[in-house]
């Protein structure tokens, strides 16, 4: 399975975040991560998407790439298509810090790709997967 890539494209809407969570959990399980690690990965994917959605602008679609490299799972989440203005509350934007704490704690490394203060993509990885 090494170097295998799974690609998922979903509309950038809250109702589809569950699909990305389930896909990430299934892929991480297949790679041999344990139950706690799978929970971490599932949660991190959702939080990364929340960070991209809860901004002044949000993309039309999200492209999510799950990759198995060595013993690691790599996940890239990229906003694509037209970016449209949102009516997100300042309170929701304030809560972005919660997502950042969760991501920083649950993944080994997280990289934010920003443009004019807007997060356009988030790349992250976590190690210690099995060799299946």
């Amino acid at each position: 399975m090494n170097n295998d890539i799974i690609t998922l494209t979903v509309p950038a809407k809250p109702e589809y975040v569950m699909i990305t969570r389930l896909t990430s959990a299934a892929f991480a399980s297949r790679l041999g991560f344990d139950v706690d690690q799978i929970e971490d990965i599932k949660m991190s994917v959702a939080e990364a998407i929340i960070l991209i959605l809860n901004q002044a602008v949000r993309p039309k679609e999200l492209l999510i790439k799950f990759m198995h490299l060595g013993q690691d799972i790599h996940i890239d989440i990229t906003g694509q298509g037209e970016w449209i203005e949102t009516n997100i509350s300042t309170q929701d934007i304030d809560h972005a810090q919660l997502s950042r704490y969760i991501l920083g704690s649950m993944m080994d490394e997280v990289e934010f790709k920003t443009d004019n203060g807007i997060i356009r993509a988030i790349c992250m990885h976590k190690g210690c997967g099995g060799s299946s």
Partner: protein, 106 residues
Amino acid sequence: MDIKEKFNDDTKTWHVSLDGEIDIYNAPELKEKLHKLIEQNPGNIVLDCQNLTYIDSTGLGVLISALRRIKEYDGEITITNLKPYIRKIFVITGLDKIFALEVQGT
């Protein structure tokens, strides 16, 4: 997500049980419900999370917002029966310091 609530008139406390997953999709529904309960009967809230299987940062944001609102009436929110992996999220975000938490099996 399923929400059940009952008000105890003696203790002036809402007992709210949360069932299922709270995420970015259904968190607004929880927010509306909790704020409505506080408006209806300002007091304390005990959240029973025995059957809560997942909560994300938007769900946590809703709980923070409800806590702010209930503090205006000198109320408190106690969160009970948290599964250990959900308690971990409260610890990571520092919210274990602002909510009274009780973990399952303790």
